[in-house]
Symmetry: C2
DNA sequence: CGAAGAAATTAGCTGTAACTAATACCCGTG
DNA sequence: CACGGGTATTAGTTACAGCTAATTTCTTCG
């Protein structure tokens, strides 16, 4: 029952488009503009590539550019997510690179590492279930648990939570988060929210710090069960 | 004294052309046809690419296609050799892949691994000086020792030698060599050469085997000092 | 010397994936 | 209902790196 990993290798661009579609898509379709922004290409480039992906039955095209992954497209996208996260784990755990810094390397390598090498890396890392930023790693069949997480900034005053995932695309911000102790597994408590200016005070690992709302968007937490405000 | 690792990233194709030029070049210039054969592309493609490389001052063009690396081209080529060999070492030593099988993966990864990742891999492998096939690894400044090796098939009857390098491009043949004990470090003795049909008998690690000349071209040995035919 | 054959080059195309500029389409507001 | 702003598409280019077919240029040999 070896799953049918078809032999056709998608181009690097296609793989990146699919991955971003999966990430932005959640469920609903995705707009040309959002893809363009996230991929760093022009809108016409996106229109164009989407047409090709549609022809290859990897995305379904709705009206006015709205695009949605097909089952086949989703499979490819998740495969890329798996590769990306395994590689990040490897870069941190085995090569000892910095947490905040491995995303860019993984973004390239995910397209060029053979299945054989990927499996060897996965084995060497002990078949990790999470990457260094707390993101879950899909299994070989593309199964991916879903977690109900909320943005750190959405906690109400007094609420406790555990940091679960850190968005990994901006090395700069990650360095700051790490230094503040906002890493997967950290326990936090929202101390105060100033509605007026969107600034709040967060307690993490004993000490506290203050931050503007957008400065922590990208940190996802799992709220503690209500009522254990010991 | 950080050496001037210029920022220019050469395309994958260029890097491969330079590497092959270095390998075939030795000293003298290289013909269009030999490049085409080795790279698996057509002759016009080579003419064309050589013109670009010449424009970029990476090769010097002599008459009728003869091409030769410039100092800058040589630097780039050796850098690729270093990357290739470090990666092969890593694939075998750390990931446990098969000796005979890592060339293709290294051929791809050499173009896509960042300097940072390469250095981390090199460190993890303990700054190896030879790859798994016995090829010397250039140091970070492009220095590469030179060894005086001869083809296994050129030994005279009775002569002893130590296997030093195994050509790594044909997995098929490598598997056979490995199985026969022809690996770097193995001690061999030429037992008999039949001039008539180019077949000879070789002793390696006690047992002996017989082979046609071309079947072992790609195995390079270091002849023992004359006269210790104990 | 002259022609054959080998080697290299030129000419013209292809596919991929970008880009900019121009245009078309939609939707909400006046 | 018409118009303006935002969104998407079309049209036309570009760079890269390959290809085949045709041609040119060398070398060698009769
Ligand atoms: Mn990528
Ligand atoms: Mn990650
Ligand atoms: Mn290569
Ligand atoms: Mn090698």
């Amino acid at each position: 029952m070896v799953s049918a990993r078809a032999s056709r290798a998608l181009s690097r661009s296609r793989q990146d488009y699919l991955k971003v579609l999966h990430d932005l898509g959640g469920e609903g379709p995705v707009t040309v503009t959002s893809l363009a922004r996230r991929l760093g290409v022009s809108a016409p480039s996106v229109t164009n590539m989407l047409a090709r992906l549609a022809e290859e039955k990897l995305v379904r095209l709705h009206h006015r550019g709205a695009a949605q992954l097909t089952a086949a497209g989703t499979r490819e996208a998740i495969e890329m997510v798996r590769r990306h996260r395994i590689l990040e784990t490897f870069l941190v755990q085995v090569l000892g690179l910095d947490w905040a810094d491995v995303h860019a390397d993984a973004e390239v390598l995910e397209h060029h590492v053979s299945d054989r090498v990927l499996e060897a890396i996965d084995r060497l890392c002990g078949h990790p279930s999470e990457d260094p930023h707390g993101h879950l790693i899909p299994d070989r069949d593309g199964r991916l648990e879903r977690r109900a997480l909320v943005p750190l900034a959405s906690l109400r005053p007094g609420q406790r939570a555990v940091v679960r995932e850190i968005r990994d695309r901006e090395a700069r911000r990650m360095a700051r988060w790490k230094q503040a102790g906002l890493v997967p597994g950290a326990e936090v408590r929202m101390r105060d929210v100033r509605e007026s200016d969107g600034v709040f005070e967060i307690e993490v690992g004993g000490s506290a710090f203050v931050s503007a709302g957008e400065a922590v968007d990208g940190v996802l937490v799992q709220p503690a069960r209500e009522g254990n405000d010991s």
